[in-house]
């Protein structure tokens, strides 16, 4: 059974179609990313999954049950963790007090010490929340999301405002949770984060699914052209190259190709024979960000929708 299953979901606010015919499935333990610019229908979709918004039509199953049915909500909230942005924590409590308070709401909570360890706040366990830095508060947010031992975790931009080290730690935590069988639904504006964590991505644009797939194949990314670039030493002319370049800026050469293996082979053999250094040689595909921007460009012009 999937952790999340959405079929033909629709939701409108008056005349505005916030979500149109959206369907996706998320298997247990997967990290799933829902992307899209503000106003694309992300928050609406997530709030429907969390049971805070009523859908107009379509079928939604969260851990096998319908979140739109009031009687299911308490059961669901015992098993679903939600990490939102910009929600205060009682500033006068310590990290441990807040976690212990919230742990008491759940039927099978995770041990508070384990949570403190997982989010890396061991040194801060008995410090008041108001004394925490922004990044530490963000980690406490995540701690509060996982203290109930959730089967499914909604993470809304979990690393916004974190320094690089804390960001990597959060990634590790998300991977650990996923390995332990927690399904994670991620929303993020950082494409490197999505690429590092998600096994499945859905991009929403104007309420519809614009693309869906693995981060490496999204939008035909795995099949598109590859850019090979390098610099040639002085004295070597562009015309000496065994392959025709698609562009050059001074000594910097760029070759765009579909058959990167053949091009690289000819290029490197040539360089080895002639004993020439190809300085700064790099082989890059279109980045996830390029694909994402391409997919959502159209809606960027009109990105002031009613909700994000």
């Amino acid at each position: 059974m999937s952790s999340l299953s959405v079929t033909s979901l629709n939701k409108s606010y008056g005349h505005v179609h916030a979500v149109v015919d959206v369907s996706f499935e998320v298997a247990r333990g997967d990290v799933f990313a829902l992307l899209g610019p503000n106003g694309a229908g992300k928050t609406t979709t997530i709030e429907i999954l969390e049971g805070f918004l009523k859908r107009d039509s379509g079928d939604v199953r969260v851990l096998g049950v319908d979140p739109g049915v009031h009687a299911n909500q308490r059961w669901l909230r015992s098993r679903v963790g939600v990490v939102l942005q910009e929600l205060a924590v009682e500033s006068f409590f310590t990290v441990r007090q807040v976690l212990e308070r919230n742990a008491g709401f759940y039927p099978e909570p995770r041990a508070v010490d384990e949570v403190i360890e997982l989010v890396g706040l061991r040194d801060k366990a008995d410090v008041k929340v108001k004394k925490l830095s922004g990044g530490q508060q963000r980690r406490l947010d995540i701690g509060l999301g996982i203290v109930g031992n959730p089967l499914l975790l909604f993470l809304d931009e979990p690393t916004t405002g974190l320094d690089p080290a804390a960001r990597r730690m959060t990634w590790e935590l998300i991977r650990t949770l996923s390995q332990q069988g927690t399904t994670v639904m991620l929303s993020s504006h950082y494409m490197d984060e999505v690429e590092a964590l998600a096994c499945h991505v859905v991009v929403l644009s104007k309420g519809r699914i614009a693309a869906s797939g693995t981060p490496s194949s999204l939008g035909g990314r795995d099949l598109g052209k590859v850019a090979i670039s390098f610099s040639i030493p002085p004295g070597i002319s562009v015309t000496d190259l065994p392959v025709a370049p698609s562009g050059c800026q001074g000594q910097r050469i760029e070759i765009s190709t579909d058959c990167e293996l053949e091009v690289l082979s000819r290029l490197t053999s040539w360089a080895l024979v002639k004993d020439i250094q190809l300085v700064g040689l790099s082989v890059t595909r279109q980045t996830l960000e390029d694909v994402y921007l391409g997919l959502t460009r159209e809606s960027l012009a009109s990105s002031d929708g009613p909700r994000s």
Partner: protein, 268 residues
């Protein structure tokens, strides 16, 4: 994935009771952790009683059957204590928690709405009762004001007062849009009503001010709390008329609160 077969219900009456007690414990912790706030809330009524008692406590009030000012102030500040805990303190508490997102965060957890509201109610009642006890003792031993003649009537008034004014606090908090105005709005409204209702200066029942403030619940709670203290024979300790008006306000407020209660800050 047999792990996720939904039983739909995994809480029992015992676990629900434990849940409420758990939340009450943290509501209380939150109240007492802010020592200045706690002292201010509890101490204000005591301070007023002591100051007024020291100023003109032994003077008698001719139009109230020649009771002393102390006899008048003790029940008055007991009523004040209930109203400050259940009305002004609660209102600000709810608005601040709502507007900063604390309530919304609680809503993400399995803590049911009813359990949160019951916990807040119990916690507020504890603060109110603590004040009542302190004031009764100070009145009895500091100013020789006798305990209520009719304890049952007194307890009944306290319960009705706490319940009704909690409902009013919840109702008012639901119409205040932001935390910056919550404090000033409630304390100004509250103190004006207290003043007009004769907390500091006893009113003659026939005065225009009394007739005006009779419209509001504050004066009726003052009168209802004083009734069980009446030592004159023939005066009923049960002020049914006043109690009825307080309850009526409470019911209307409860309806408003239930309809308008919201979890999320207005900014969203």
């Amino acid at each position: 994935m047999s792990v996720i077969t939904p039983p739909r219900k995994d809480h029992t009456r015992t676990s629900d009771l434990r849940l409420v007690l758990h939340q009450v414990r943290y509501e209380q912790k939150a109240f007492w952790i802010n020592k200045v706030g706690a002292l201010f809330t509890i101490g204000f009524s005591v301070l007023f009683l002591v100051m007024l008692g020291a100023t003109n406590g032994k003077q008698t009030i001719s139009y109230l059957g020649n009771i002393t000012n102390d006899d008048y102030y003790v029940p008055g500040f007991i009523a004040y204590g209930i109203m400050s805990a259940c009305f002004s303190m609660l209102t600000v508490n709810i608005v601040v928690r709502r507007e900063t997102g604390l309530l919304k965060r609680l809503r993400l957890t399995p803590l049911p709405t009813w359990a949160l509201l019951v916990s807040i109610f119990i916690s507020t009642a504890i603060v109110a009762v603590a004040q009542v006890v302190v004031l009764l003792l100070i009145g009895r031993f500091g100013y020789a004001v006798p305990f209520p003649r009719e304890w049952l009537a007194f307890l009944f008034v306290i319960v009705v007062g706490i319940a009704s004014f909690t409902a009013m606090g919840m109702a008012i908090s639901s119409v205040i849009p932001n935390q910056e105005t919550a404090g000033p709005v409630t304390s100004v409204a509250f103190f004006v009503l207290l003043f007009l209702s004769g907390l500091w200066f006893p009113l003659q029942a026939s005065s225009g001010l009394a007739k005006f403030s009779n419209f509001f619940p504050v004066r009726h709670l003052l009168l209802a709390v004083r009734a069980p203290f009446e030592q004159q024979p023939g005066v009923s300790p049960w002020a049914w008329h006043d109690l009825g008006i307080v309850v009526a306000w409470g019911i209307v407020a409860a309806v408003v609160a239930m309809r308008r209660f919201r979890w999320s800050p207005h900014r969203n």
